[in-house]
């Protein structure tokens, strides 16, 4: 199990790291939605290229990036492999009597391109600022306070519970337990998960008590200071236009 440290490299220095958090979230979100709904293969390729450049500018270590993209690729690669054989359309070629279609191949490739571009954009957006900054930026962007608080508290306790769980897991391991997909091991796993839930439930009570003793009323109140300067507006505008340009030109021309 790894720690969910998306912001491990948030202290690097790059233009993207210095970009105002709110402007970053808005412009990248627009980019991401734009990228995942593209239906033209050539524009999808350009988008991928564009995402690469952004990652490059952000100076995030390549190993970190690959490690994060891995999961998405594992999910979408089957589409690329299977779609050409299962989707209907015009025949591209036949291997051992199995028809491979042009439409299927294009769809498969589109899915992989869109997914990869999107995940790289997400990484560039989130890995270049501390996660608490991200949450505060969302707060400044008027995301409902209820959600902000839930994100904030849940994020904090993930680390506490991860440590707690790992300690239990080690104790089991040191008594010779090995996790396998059999009845015995799974029902033992049920016990640890149950214990984790019981402990968390009791902790939830204590956390609530300590919040009450600090005057918590249910309303989110945080102090944040961001100052957006002209540069940030310019970058946001630039990013969005660069992304949309190929699309516009294609539609217009």
């Amino acid at each position: 199990m790894e720690y969910p440290e998306i912001d491990r490299y948030a202290s690097l220095k790059s233009p993207i790291h210095q970009f105002d958090p709110r402007a970053k979230i808005i412009s990248f979100s627009i980019l991401i939605f734009f990228v995942v709904f593209v239906n033209e293969l050539d524009i999808a390729v350009i988008n991928l290229f564009f995402s690469f450049i952004l990652i490059f500018i952000s100076k995030l270590p390549i190993k970190f990036v690959l490690n994060r993209i891995k999961w998405v690729l594992l999910f979408v690669l089957p589409f690329l492999i299977i779609m050409p054989f299962t989707a209907g359309g015009s025949e591209l070629m036949t291997i051992d009597g199995i028809k491979m279609t042009y439409e299927g191949l294009v769809l498969g490739m589109l899915i992989v391109l869109r997914a990869t571009s999107a995940v790289m954009l997400i990484l560039t957006m989130l890995a270049t600022m501390r996660f608490d900054t991200t949450i505060k930026a969302l707060y400044m962007l008027n995301v409902p306070g209820l959600l902000i608080q839930m994100l904030m508290f849940t994020y904090r306790y993930i680390f506490v519970f991860l440590d707690e769980f790992l300690r239990m897991w080690r104790a089991m391991g040191s008594k010779g337990f090995k996790l396998k997909a059999n009845m015995y091991a799974l029902s033992m796993l049920g016990n640890v998960v149950g214990m984790l839930i019981v402990k968390s439930y009791e902790r939830a009570d204590r956390v609530y008590q300590s919040m009450i003793s600090k005057g918590y009323t249910g309303n989110p109140k945080t102090m944040v200071k961001f100052n957006m300067v002209a540069k940030d507006y310019a970058i946001a505008f630039l990013l969005i236009s660069i992304a949309i340009l190929p699309y516009i030109s294609k539609v217009v021309l």
């Binding site: 969910p4 589409f79 989707a87 990484l123 998960v193 939830a204």
Partner: protein, 206 residues
């Protein structure tokens, strides 16, 4: 199990967000009526963190491994609040680990969350019928994942007919997960019944 970005059509994505927003409002409003926001929010968030961590457990199923989902268990333990808890959990999985997508948070929450709510109902009914807790726990856990898989397949098929075969394939590969979830949820329920019954929606007077 969580669909990543770039697969689904815009209409499915939008429908996902709309339904999730509506259900979030309903479930939150519903529980606020029973008790205070200032009590619900911290407790819900802390529990969501615990389930997040539990869902990181990988079980080796040769040749690969699968991770726990536990949406049925969340339904049983958290009741209607399982929906917001799943929403927060999936959002954090997407942004912290890039598991599942960013644009698909709405649809993924719907696919996991509605079955969680159903599991809550099934558990309560089963309990009233006097079915043993372990069994009804296992049924709720297995069924929740089963329904999630159906929802997942339907989201793909709604996106385009080209996805029918791959949806079927995904459904088949999830059979072991349904079984694993049933066993794990059953034994968690048995554990809670012994150690901390107030966590289950059961009447302790009986």
């Amino acid at each position: 199990m969580h669909i990543s970005d770039g697969v689904l059509s815009s209409s499915v994505i939008i429908v996902g967000f709309v339904i999730t927003l509506v259900l979030l409002m309903i479930t939150l409003r519903c529980s606020m009526k029973q008790s205070d926001v200032k009590e619900q929010i911290p407790k819900l968030s802390v529990m969501a963190g615990a389930f997040f961590v539990a869902s990181l457990i990988h079980i080796p199923v040769p040749p690969t491994s699968v991770h726990l989902i536990l949406n049925g268990l969340m339904g049983v333990v958290l009741g209607v609040l399982s929906y917001p808890a799943i929403f927060i959990g999936l959002t954090l999985q997407a942004v912290l680990f890039q598991h599942g997508g960013f644009t698909t948070i709405g649809i993924n929450t719907m696919n996991m969350g509605i079955p969680a709510l159903l599991a809550y109902g099934i558990f309560k009914i089963g309990y009233q019928k006097g079915i043993p807790l372990v069994l009804i726990g296992a049924i709720s856990g297995g069924l929740a994942v089963f329904i999630s898989v159906i929802f997942l397949a339907m989201s793909l098929i709604t996106t385009g007919e080209e996805f029918i075969d791959i949806a079927r394939l995904i459904a088949i590969t999830h059979v072991p997960i349904v079984i694993i979830e049933a066993i794990v949820t059953g034994s968690v329920v048995a554990f809670l019944a012994k150690v901390k019954p107030e966590l289950l929606p059961i009447d302790m007077e009986r």
